[in-house]
Amino acid sequence: MDKVLTQTKFDVLRTKLSPTIFPISDNSISKAEALLEHTDFPTRKIEAWKYTNVNGLNKLLLDGKSSALTKPNSISKETSKKVHIINGKISKEHSDLAGIKTSWNELPSICEEDSFDALNLLYCTAAIELTFKDGENKTIELIFENTRDTAIFPRIFISCKESAKGTVILNFQGAEKNASFINVSTFVDVEENAHLSIHKIQKNGSETFDLQREYVNQAANSVFAINTFPLSGRMTRNDLRINVNGSNCETFMNGAYTLKGKSHCDNHTTVDHKVAHCYSKELYKGVIDDRATNVFNGKVFVRKDAQKINAFQSNANILLSETGSVNSKPELEIYADDVKCSHGSTTGQLDDEAIFYLRSRGLSEKSAKELLVKAFLGEVLEEVDNEDVRSYVEEEIEKHFST
């Protein structure tokens, strides 16, 4: 009997995508294809996708329709290196590419069983490798300017070599109504004694779907910090997976999000403490207005012999409307017995008494709320050591309230 072949959701999506121009080995192709074959988009039956439905991806036309981006904001000061990726492709004329790898004999294969990573590999639009060496201490900003409704599939490799210090700004800027599919895989290697900070801004167009994954490996005595700012977009999903493989590491994860309209944001983070004597701290805070929805899932694993781990995790949300919603799930899995770990999650409204107090001093209701929200998110921004990023995000929070 003939097997009935039906078209899967990935099949439908793939008809709108152009295969990558980068060379991939046959082995990598078959690994990626195997993950996509007979596969539909993840459904709510899968725990990691319980509250995030990506079916809307197939409603995107990805027809290249353009809309102007008023200001392709570069965030960092002029001392940094800047690379412009316009509608998914590196713009050589606008970029300082010295020391940055952008051409490949063969793209590295997928590292985990993730169908969106497989898709990213097969349809990669830009592959960039950033390397930080000891004694350089540079800042590199990748500016993704999205003015066309298209598929933007960057594959980013960041390598912070032994004893090096580096800062990466991943700055996604979309035109106001942009309806793109952004799908990013970022692979990060922090070597011994290295110190790497990543700041990620997701200021996407109102119809854009942005699915990103970061796979991070930390070696002994290293410090890794990642600050994530989903500021706009139809749907934003971040999967951050950090393996702490060496002892005496420090890991910092901060996030601040401002959601309104019908946008949906989902931050999934995992820190895996495999060895002893490490510290990790996570703080995600956000405000949710209108019919927007937010998901947070933070996992901390402390493996069997990973003693003397200090791991702290916190997620706090403020609902500014009656129709917004939050699903927050902090998880700790501890297999060692001499550790100090905490996690917590809160969701509430702004304090009416505080609003009344501020109004009684002459502040309008709007400024009172704005002041309270800024104070609420300020706790996250205090953790951001990069002046440029901090002031950019502060401005965006202000703009969020004035529009």
């Binding site: 009684s360 502040l363 309008s364």
Partner: protein
């Protein structure tokens, strides 16, 4: 300055104010005293514009305007100030930052230009001295981790910064030790002028040793039942409120 006429106010269907009438003119200090549950804090709340209270009858005219038609912030713009009985802690919002926003919104509502940073800081220095408020407290988060006395001094500091026409002090003396009480009273006295006025709501006579009122009113069962000068406060301190209750019931 303010004319409160026959005000009736409910909360959750329960009538608290039952025909309160009070007129305060510029340059005057009025004390409102009364037993627990008489409606003292309700009076402060309806003047500041708390929405939980429903005003079923009566009127309040402030500087010729219908006060009850104004939103809370519009009342502040018009020159009304309430010193809270329980000042709110607001983590993350700095005292001076919020005061600058408040001053500028008030100035904006009055069609004035924003205050310059230099003038503002000079004002902070000048006014924090009045209540002996450490300049460090002035720049910390609003009331966060302040002691009871510091919170009340911060209320008077804010009052000094905003320079209202009418200040309503809602049990500002509650929870204060004698030194804090003296400082708070000194602050209020030094802000007194011929152009402004205060309504001092208090349960005890003690505060009135320091802030000498022109009039003392006894609020009982939602109405002002007796008015006198500062001697009335002393009489209340000596005899308690029972004789007022009896007098009212007989009357």
């Amino acid at each position: 300055m303010i004319e409160i006429k026959n005000v009736h106010a409910n909360i959750e269907g329960k009538e608290i104010l039952k025909g309160l009438t009070l007129t305060v003119n510029s340059g005057e200090v009025h004390a409102i005293m009364g037993p627990n549950g008489a409606g003292k804090s309700t009076l402060a709340s309806i003047l500041a514009g708390r929405e939980e209270f429903e005003i079923t009858e009566g009127s309040v005219t402030f500087e010729g305007e219908d006060l009850l038609e104004l939103d809370t912030e519009e009342r502040a713009h018009a020159g009304l100030f309430l010193a809270f009985q329980y000042p709110v802690e607001i983590p993350g919002v700095s005292n001076v930052n919020f005061l600058r926003t408040a001053i500028n919104e008030i100035r904006d509502a009055r069609g004035e230009a924003p205050i310059s940073a230099k003038d503002f800081m000079a004002l902070v220095r000048e006014k924090s001295k009045i209540v002996e408020l450490d300049s460090k407290l002035a720049s910390r988060a609003v009331n966060e981790g302040f002691s009871g006395g510091e919170k009340k001094r911060n209320e008077i500091f804010q009052m000094a910064m905003l320079n209202p026409k009418l200040a309503v002090l809602d049990e500002t003396d509650s929870g204060l030790d004698i030194d804090a009480l003296r400082i708070v009273a000194k602050g209020v006295n030094s802000l007194k002028s011929a152009d402004n006025a205060s309504i001092v709501i208090t349960h005890y006579q003690r505060l009135l040793d320091y802030i000498v009122p022109d009039y003392v009113h006894v609020l009982y069962d939602g109405k002002i039942v007796k008015t006198g000068n500062k001697d009335l406060a002393l009489e209340l301190e000596e005899k308690g409120y029972d004789w007022i209750k009896e007098e009212t019931q007989v009357g």
